[in-house]
């Protein structure tokens, strides 16, 4: 169908409105209450146009095209209606703009700049309306509201939650909830669609949510922004809600190759930033990841996941088969490079299979996920300790050092630290996971109060030992509370606020640990020496048969490894003097714990992604490692859920302490289908808001 707008003939179909046709053909018609995604309401009349044969101007947004229509946008009659409509809107609007947080981004401001209308000769009918900042996440500053109704249409038609509507409040028409109840009571799902469509900043995010430091998308979806690997969390939770866990795992695998492992042990920093936290408590994002991985039957993502780019003929060697090495290996293989991973221990998986206890992350779960990586063609060679990276570089195009921090640190300044029965926490964990036996005897004293200490304690309890954990910090504040309490429940004893003096021995065998109590302690900022506020003559001996140091881990690298290290044994790049992905040897890269020190699994994987992209560019590739594995749909119509704001967070159930301390099966029970579904339903789906299209400003049209 053909119509003529401002004597430009344009193509269009039946059922389209004049406004849609004009905007599509780069012809600007001023409009305010029509939003690209919403049904027209025809209320504001700013889009009036003159149509040949019609005596009075018609609203372009709600007048449908007919064959051969001749339309003039800026005709005299249409302009008069438009100008008067604009003046009436401004007459009911505060006459002072400069105090408004939306200044500069406000569509009404752009409109009066374009039309030049001013309400001076009308009565000023703007009445004071107190700002309502009591609701979580959303502020109502209704004195600025021009009652265009876009938020009403968004809430009722686009989202189907039906919370906002026109209300008669104190003899005036205002937008609000029924009888003025709070958003939570009215059933609001805090999806933020009303904020996105509001042209004048009457409905805005709470102060502080949107800042200049982060981009708008990161501020709106803080969980995805906080996750070091930027996993698209709302999307996979939505997939879990709809019950197809394979799409959920596909979405997770677009960023990380170990969904199940992360679902078990990730330190979920994303949950601290989850906006649901402002309502009651955050989504349990990690447990949902685990739920998805454990219920992914069809693995619909696999076919695309293992497809690799054509061979580039480049060979890459990766030293260290932990999370970081395998992830980098996977991505480099996907880019078509020939990848070989050298792992010193018997099985790959690094920390996941030898640095954490089996009851937190079972070995089979990790090996299943490693198998998937091997299916892409990554070759993994176990029991092969690489002595010199520079040497290895000779017969490979690029080398990645990803050995993590797999050597436990012993506090050698403690007298008796060189006795035979003194081990490190990693030895304990490897003993159980790799079947190496050490002479621990019956009672074991663990020195150190971090998570690794309590992992070792849990493992030793399951090996039938009596365990004493000795640490400086009050209530072992260094560890995550849940892991500390779990170990203590299983029978480990805690000696907090204790400082060690010496390891005692009796005829060449460890027999006790000499300690004293302290009130508080601190580290000298530059020399890192320990400063204690000791309690006088509180020294006594805790008898034991062996000592386990859980006082941090190091890389265990020496200069023999062939690359420049700093005094703590971490590789550095001479150009910057700091630990970087690049090292002193050209073509040799480093990533994960080996350059950042002991961090969490997700940090190692995120580091691997960055270094993989860097190495691909080094090897001549484009460095693009993002991939789309599964189709997913984001249905904007989310509907009503009664009592949505109050839905409680589903906690993970732990097996009973007595029963779980006897075996090495996973100590927590994953979500049931019903639990998984209703936890996933709590998600505010903050990302839906980003799919709302941006309204047009006159400056967008040349």
């Amino acid at each position: 169908m053909q119509i003529i707008i401002d004597n430009i003939s344009v193509e269009c179909q039946e059922g389209e409105s004049i406004l849609e046709v004009a905007l599509r053909n780069n012809i600007y018609i001023p409009h305010l209450c029509k939003h690209p995604d919403l049904e027209a309401s025809g209320g504001c009349r700013l889009c009036s146009v003159e149509i040949e044969g019609e005596e009075f101007p018609k609203p372009a947004c709600s007048t449908y095209v007919k064959e051969g229509m001749k339309i003039t946008v800026r005709g005299p009659k249409a302009d008069e209606t438009r100008k008067m409509a604009m003046e009436l809107i401004l007459a009911g609007h505060p006459s002072e703009c400069t105090g408004c947080p939306k200044y500069g981004k406000c569509e009404l401001q752009s409109m009066y700049q374009f039309l030049g209308a001013s309400p001076e000769h009308w009565h000023k009918t703007s009445k004071p309306v107190p700002d309502n900042k009591d609701n979580p996440l959303i502020m109502h500053l209704m004195i600025r509201c021009v009652r265009c109704g876009r938020c009403v249409h968004a809430c009722r038609d686009m989202r189907g939650v039906k919370v906002l509507d026109y209300r008669h409040i104190k003899g005036e028409i205002r937008i609000g909830t029924k009888d003025g109840v709070s958003l939570a009571d009215a059933g609001c799902r805090f999806c933020g669609a009303c904020i996105e469509v509001c042209p004048t900043g009457s409905i805005m995010d709470q102060v502080g949510l949107i800042t200049e430091e982060t981009t708008y998308a990161d501020a709106v979806v803080p969980c995805r922004a906080t996750c070091p690997a930027h996993i698209s969390i709302p999307e996979y939770i939505r997939a879990v809600k709809e019950g197809d866990c394979d799409t959920a795992v596909g979405i997770i695998r677009e960023k990380v190759p170990f969904p199940h492992a992360l679902g078990l042990v990730c330190n979920n920093r994303c949950e601290e930033k989850c906006k649901r936290g402002d309502l009651n408590d955050p989504l349990s994002i990690r447990n949902l990841k685990r739920f998805a991985a454990e219920n992914d039957k069809t693995q619909s993502w696999k076919e695309k996941y293992t497809a690799c780019a054509p061979d580039t003929g480049k060979k890459v060697a990766i030293i260290g088969g932990g999370a970081c090495g395998l992830t980098a290996g996977y991505y480099l293989r996907k880019k078509g490079h020939d990848v070989t991973v050298f792992e010193a221990k018997k099985i790959p998986g690094g920390h996941m299979t030898s640095g954490m206890p089996a009851y937190r992350i079972p070995t089979e779960a990790v090996l299943d996920e490693v198998k998937v990586i091997e299916e892409t063609g990554v070759k993994i060679v176990c029991d092969k300790k690489i002595e010199n990276a520079a040497e290895l570089k000779k017969d490979y195009d690029a080398v990645l050092v990803a050995i993590g921090t797999s050597v436990g640190k012993k506090l050698m300044y403690l007298p008796g630290a060189d006795l035979p029965q003194v081990y490190t926490a990693l030895d304990v964990l490897q003993a159980q996971r790799l079947g190496i036996d050490y002479d621990f005897g019956q009672t074991v004293n663990i020195i150190g109060g971090g998570n690794v200490a309590f992992d070792a304690a849990g493992t030793l309890v399951r090996m039938g030992k009596t365990v004493n954990v000795v640490c400086l910090e009050k209530d072992a504040s260094q560890a995550t509370p849940s892991e500390r309490d779990a170990a203590l429940e299983e029978g480990a004893n805690l000696f907090d606020s204790h400082s060690n003096e010496a390891i005692l021995a009796e005829n060449g065998r460890v027999c006790g640990l000499q300690v004293h109590k302290i009130n508080s302690f601190s580290f000298d900022p530059d020399t890192r020496a320990l400063i204690e506020d000791a309690i006088p003559d509180s020294t006594y001996v805790i008898p034991c048969d062996s000592i386990v140091f859980a006082a941090g881990q190091v890389t265990g690298l020496t200069d023999a490894f062939g690359i420049e290290l700093n005094k703590f044994g971490y590789p550095i790049d001479p150009a910057t003097g700091k630990s970087e992905y690049t090292t002193s040897v050209e073509g040799v890269f480093a990533a994960g714990d080996v350059i950042t020190g002991t961090k969490f699994l997700i940090d190692a994987i995120a580091g691997a992604r960055d270094v993989a992209s860097l190495m691909d560019k080094y090897l001549g590739g484009d460095g693009q490692i993002d991939e789309q594995l599964v189709e997913r749909k984001a249905d904007p119509h989310i509907g009503r859920i009664e009592g949505f704001a109050g839905l409680k967070r589903t906690e993970l159930k732990e097996r009973d302490a007595e029963e779980r301390k006897k075996d090495f099966d996973v100590s927590s029970i994953g979500f049931t289908c019903e639990e998984g579904h209703c936890e996933a339903e709590r998600c505010l789906q903050c990302d839906l808001r980003l799919n709302v299209s941006r309204p047009h400003f006159w400056s967008d049209f040349k």
């Binding site: 209320g43 009349r45 009075f56 409509a85 000769h121």
Partner: protein
């Protein structure tokens, strides 16, 4: 005749459509009063039957407020259901056909784009006002009930003149009659003698006023009704009715000028075509007809500050007639602004500045010596002077 809803066209359009249909007779009174149609329930239900066949609808529905008993009795045995729509917040916008459609879908009854709307179980909603149904059925009863000046219900026979209706409604020598919402037809003094077809009116309200009611009060009352009932979706209705209301108030208290008056007239011209339902359109039409039929009186208020009906406080002053005042002082006690000064046996004087024109003193004066005055002021002393009357 109100050209607003072209009933015949809509009837044919509904009839032409296939599929399930529902005829809705929308008897919710615009201002929430109990429906005038309760007395004529039987005639209404018969007409509903006729129109239902005409458009081929299986069922019909009568919506009303308060108890629908009269309708239920009349509709017994017929495929007509009666529903009390007490949660309809505002009546005027509800009279738009699209509003009924939204209401039956559980939304608030406000007008929206004129697209066919179906009920949740798929029946096309065909909505008419009771008077429209009677007209469309062709069976026009001899008499019809109207509210005159909101309160007294009047039965009007076919062929009666406006003057007779006004008198029946309690306004003896009416000088103007206005048909209520949604017609808003204005009849000046010279047209009161004409008879009218009782079935040509949409609404069931009539406003009649005589010489001592000022046209601005009547206009203010009707426009305020519209402004209270606006649903807020259209700028020209929500803001337009408010601006016209404030302009009329300005005319009443002397703040208007011809420029702001003409601005309101231009606004009314726009309102007539730029709103989605009758409230904005008819409010514009009302102001235009008032400006046309009573324009002179409005302009007198503005330019010569004169209110013939002596009701706009700004333009009237109260005076003590020197030949009747006996100096009894009763008026002083009645005035709570102590705006009247005077001593016993002295002619009292009302101070221009403090007098708030509440009028209490007029009724308090036993001699009837206090009168209102417009442009021409009765002579009187500036300060209290001894009474001259000798009785």
């Amino acid at each position: 005749m109100n050209s607003f809803n072209l009933e015949k066209e809509r009837l044919e359009a509904y009839a032409a459509k296939e599929g399930k249909k529902l005829l809705v007779c929308e008897a919710v009174h615009p201002l929430g009063k109990e429906s005038v149609w309760i007395d004529a329930a039987k005639d209404l239900i018969d007409s509903v039957e006729i129109v239902r066949e005409k458009i081929g609808a299986e069922k019909a529905l009568v919506l009303c407020k308060g108890d629908g008993k009269a309708f239920e009795d009349a509709a017994a045995g017929k495929a007509i259901e009666v529903k009390t729509a007490d949660d309809v917040e505002y009546g005027m916008p509800f009279m738009a056909p699209t509003a009924v459609g939204r209401y039956l879908n559980g939304e608030q009854g406000y007008p929206c784009l004129d697209k066919p709307i179906c009920t949740p179980d798929g029946e096309l909603v065909c909505a008419f006002l009771p008077s429209a149904i009677i007209r469309l059925s062709g069976k026009l009863p001899e008499t019809r009930e109207f509210f005159v000046n909101d309160t007294n219900k009047v039965t009007v026979k076919q062929g009666q003149t406006w003057a007779e209706v006004a008198a029946a409604g309690g306004v003896a020598e009416a000088r103007g009659v206005i048909a209520g919402f949604p017609d808003f037809d204005v009849f000046g003094e010279d047209e009161l003698a004409q008879s009218f077809d009782i079935w040509s009116l949409e609404g069931d309200e009539i406003e009649a006023f005589d010489a001592n009611t000022c046209i601005t009060d009547v206009a203010l009352k009707l426009i305020t009704q519209c402004n209270d009932q606006t649903c807020g979706r259209c700028i020209f209705c929500r803001e337009g009715t408010l601006q016209i209301k404030l302009t009329i108030q300005d005319i009443q208290n002397g703040k208007a000028n011809m420029e702001s008056y003409n601005l309101a007239v231009n606004l009314a011209k726009q309102m007539v075509h730029q709103t989605l339902c009758g409230v904005g359109t008819q409010a514009g039409k009302l102001f235009l007809e008032l400006a046309d039929k009573f324009g002179k009186e409005l302009e007198d208020h503005i330019t010569s500050k004169d209110c013939k009906a002596l009701s706009c406080k700004k333009y009237i002053t109260y005076h003590v007639l020197q030949n009747l005042c006996t100096g009894c002082g009763k008026c002083v006690d009645a005035c709570d602004e102590d705006a009247i000064d005077g001593k016993p046996r002295f002619i009292h004087v009302i101070s221009k500045i403090d007098c708030t024109k509440c009028g209490n003193c007029v009724s308090a004066c036993p001699e009837g010596a206090i009168v209102k005055a417009g442009k021409i002021k009765p002579p009187g002393p500036m300060r209290p002077i001894p009474c001259r009357r000798k009785d």
